[in-house]
């Protein structure tokens, strides 16, 4: 019988809020789904849309961006830049047939360990419901060659 679908999430967490939130989740021994793989960046403002598209192109089922709450950015306003890029990016992904639920931007502070758990669990549930990504690029090439 086939293995149950385990979505792979690439998560970009900012060093000062969300990554610390995840650390706190650890020290608090909160249990959550193992599907997310965290890439640490200094600020959500560092997340280049290229990274997100690359992740999707390489087969990620979902991408999670984590930053400080509005007004709380360690770098004052990096998270606003992240938000603007995110909203435009999400529109584009929609046009590319990638469901909006597959990319998520969350404000999670260093104290919100439980939020880390909830968000990741929720996202895994959503992605399981959506199922695997529609035909990834590779198969399109197969067709072309």
């Amino acid at each position: 019988m086939p293995e149950p679908f385990e979505p792979k999430i690439v998560a970009f967490f900012c060093n000062w809020c969300t990554y610390l939130g995840a650390d706190l989740a650890g020290t608090s021994r909160l249990k959550y789904a193992p599907n997310a793989r965290v890439v640490r960046v200094m600020c959500s403002g560092r997340v280049d849309p290229q990274f997100v598209l690359d992740a999707f192109a390489k087969g990620a089922d979902g991408v999670l961006l984590g930053g400080c709450h509005p007004g709380d950015c360690h770098y004052q306003e990096g998270n606003y830049k992240a938000l603007r890029r995110f909203k435009l990016l999400q529109q584009f992904l929609g046009q590319m047939g990638i469901e909006p639920e597959r990319i998520r931007l969350e404000w999670i502070s260093a104290a919100e360990a439980d939020r880390v758990r909830t968000v990741i669990n929720e996202m895994v549930e959503t992605l399981k419901r959506l199922g695997p990504r529609k035909a990834p690029v590779e198969t399109q090439f197969a067709e072309a060659s």
Partner: protein, 663 residues
């Protein structure tokens, strides 16, 4: 003997005792690491952060010609520095190192070993790919301005200020009230030693005032902050007190001369139990001893039709200046101590205790003022109608350990309730009942104090008070406040009629804690107190270099702990100042001239104005000293002409690639 160009990675998987080993198969992981491209050595070890663990790395670098190191263990926030140092000791550039977090990210949050190990493999693969892209980097160093800013002039701020000033450092102490002293100045005695708060605080207050190394600004707020560790630019707004501190000699004649013959205004310092005039000093030992004119109540300010007898009284000292305006002071400091204290829980939030409804329900702080010799009643514990209470009930944990208000224990209530019980009994001889959930007396001499109270025949009833009401069932309860409580020891509901109720309100973050947090760019823990960098290893540091914490703004604590913490904060600051400089993380962004088109997209994005446009070269330029390494400009540059040390595009692409290429 080893080709420097060929990348040789050393992988070290940490057991962290059983912390990791329990839920990640470290042997399998290490074996997997050995099979990854470029990996020359892959080991697992009990505690890689231990000395032998670090030696292992150093030795391997020599023996196996490693030129990249990956450690899979805990959060980089904990040990990145440790392992970078080890890498450097081995003779490599410290930044040829990458840390993979398999503890906070995996073993502690994951249940089964299989999925945990699988996840660990992904992260390790990503780390190994990433580290291959790393390049040698040098840390920068920032000089530390020796002056210090301390925000909040309670006992914490006062103690830290004196410690630093005595060490010869210049301190700016900013307090928003007209006087320093904070909550402690309002206390009568302090537990458990019952020595008089004023007697121990007042001398410290005046030495602050007189210390050549301390600039004291009361009635002032920090309104703006820019810069970074070593050189902060601080803007302090000094509200007008309409009396010139430099001219006033503190004779207080203006107060007596005020056209208000009777003090009519409820005074803040005594929580409205006493009255003051429009021109006043909050309390006799105030520092500085300079009155304030309250424009809200001063006739001259309200109608412009006052005889201004105060000005007459001041005479040729001309200290009174009704046209005084808010003044901005701009100062440079290298480090900051935040000691903004706490606020008491507002008892009105528990309506069933009748505070604000029944005149004889008081808060503990109000009673502190009542029992205080210099208080509104000159130390007489009397009810609002002047009667002496025969029976007094003290209700613990009001706004503490309560799902409906604050869940945390405020740590000091049990002890100050005992103290008040003692003082009330001492002043009035009344029967005193304590209603408590648990009696918490962990501290030097605390338990003994509790015993002493028991011997003084103070009543202790275990149970959370359900309600306080003024309707009696029988003559004994007539005209009294009836405290309804389930005595969990006796196992029955009891009704205790009393004349006076004291609510032991808890400690909570200042109402404006969030604004302060943002101002100083620090974090709060979930209950809203400021977050320390590490609860055990860095209890007075924050995640913002050069900003430290002292006192109850970081969490409830008693005076000894506060003073100890203030000392610790001062010590951290001294270490910083005496080192003279601080090493910076080399994660700054830089422009690759040959690819910069001069489109200026980046210039406006930098919150630190680190990016300038060089008209003659028609390129953007990033000031390495000002750049804080957020990387926003890197992500925004449409030509990818901006790189960021430690977070290069290539490094992140490799990491993502590593995560997603199933091996």
């Amino acid at each position: 003997m080893f080709d420097p160009d060929d990348i040789r990675v050393g992988v070290y998987v940490c057991h962290c005792g059983t912390n990791i080993a329990a839920t990640v198969d470290v042997r399998e992981l290490a074996a997997y690491g050995a099979g990854l491209p470029h990996v020359a050595v892959s080991r697992e070890y009990k505690y890689v952060c231990s000395d032998p663990g670090q030696d292992l790395i150093r030795q391997d670098i020599r023996d196996h010609g490693l030129n990249r190191i990956v450690v899979a263990s805990c959060s980089p926030h904990l040990h990145e520095h440790t392992f970078r140092t080890a890498t450097a000791m081995g003779g490599l550039n410290a930044f040829y190192f990458h840390m993979v977090n398999i503890r906070e990210q995996i073993s502690w949050v994951n249940e089964d070993k299989v999925s945990g190990t699988a996840k660990a493999k992904d992260l390790l693969r990503a780390g190994v790919r990433r580290v291959a892209m790393h390049r040698p980097l040098e840390r920068g160093s920032i000089p530390i301005h020796p002056d210090v800013l301390i925000v909040g002039g309670g006992i914490a701020g006062i103690h830290a200020a004196l410690t630093l000033a005595n060490a010869g450092k210049h301190v700016y102490l900013v307090e928003r009230e007209p006087s320093i002293g904070g909550h402690m100045a309002r206390f009568d005695k302090t537990f458990p030693t019952l020595d008089c708060a004023a007697c121990i605080l007042t001398p410290k207050m005046s030495s602050v005032k007189n210390h050549p190394n301390i600039t004291l600004w009361t009635y002032s707020d920090v309104s703006a902050l820019e810069g970074y560790v070593g050189s902060y630019k601080v803007t302090v707004t000094r509200r007008p007190r309409y009396i010139d501190e430099s001219l006033c000699v503190g004779c207080l004649e203006c107060i007596d001369a005020c056209v208000y013959k009777q003090a009519k205004v409820p005074d803040e310092f005594n929580y409205g139990l006493g009255k003051r005039r429009p021109v006043y000093v909050p309390f006799p030992q105030a520092v500085p001893l300079v009155p304030v004119i309250d424009p809200e109540t001063c006739i001259q300010f309200k109608s412009g039709k006052c005889k201004k007898t105060c000005i007459e009284a001041c005479g040729d000292r001309h200290a009174i200046d009704l046209r005084q305006e808010a003044k901005q002071e701009i100062i440079e400091v290298g480090s900051i101590i935040v000691s903004t204290g706490f606020q008491a829980y507002d008892a009105r939030r528990n309506p069933y205790y009748g505070y604000g409804v029944y005149p004889n329900v008081y808060t503990a702080l109000e009673v502190e003022r009542l029992v205080n010799a210099s208080g509104p009643t000159a130390g007489e514990v009397v009810l609002r109608d002047g009667r002496k209470p025969q029976t007094v009930g003290i209700v613990h944990c009001v706004g503490s350990r309560d799902e409906n208000s604050n869940r945390w224990c405020s740590r000091v209530c049990c002890m100050y309730s005992l103290k008040l019980a003692h003082l009330i009994k001492e002043h009035t001889g009344a029967e005193v009942y304590n209603f408590y959930i648990d009696m918490r007396t962990p501290g030097k001499g605390f338990e003994e104090f509790y015993q002493k109270l028991l011997n003084e025949r103070v009543h202790f009833i275990r149970g959370r008070v359900a309600e306080i009401a003024d309707w009696g069932l029988d003559a004994t309860e007539e005209g009294k406040l009836v405290i309804r409580v389930e005595d969990t020891l006796a196992g029955k509901v009891r009704r205790i009629p009393v004349d006076m109720v004291v609510l032991s309100t808890g400690l909570e973050p200042q109402a404006d804690a969030n604004d302060i947090r943002r101002l100083f760019n620090i974090s709060c823990s979930s209950e809203g107190f400021f977050l320390e960098r590490h609860p055990k290893l860095a209890p007075v540091s924050t995640f913002t270099d050069g900003v430290f914490l002292a006192g109850c703004c970081q969490g409830p604590k008693d005076i000894p702990d506060t003073v100890a913490q203030a000392g610790a904060a001062a010590a951290e600051v001294l270490a910083l100042i005496d080192a003279g400089h601080v090493e910076t993380e080399p994660n700054t962004a830089y422009v690759l001239d040959e690819f910069c088109s001069g489109c200026k997209t980046c210039v406006g994005l930098c919150p630190y104005h680190a990016i300038t446009f060089q008209e003659e070269r028609r390129k953007s330029e990033i000031n390495q000293a000002l750049c804080k390494g957020c990387g926003t400009c890197v992500a925004a540059c449409p030509s990818a002409a901006i790189g960021q040390h430690l977070f290069e595009d290539s490094e992140i692409f490799e990491e993502v690639e590593g995560i997603l290429t199933y091996a």
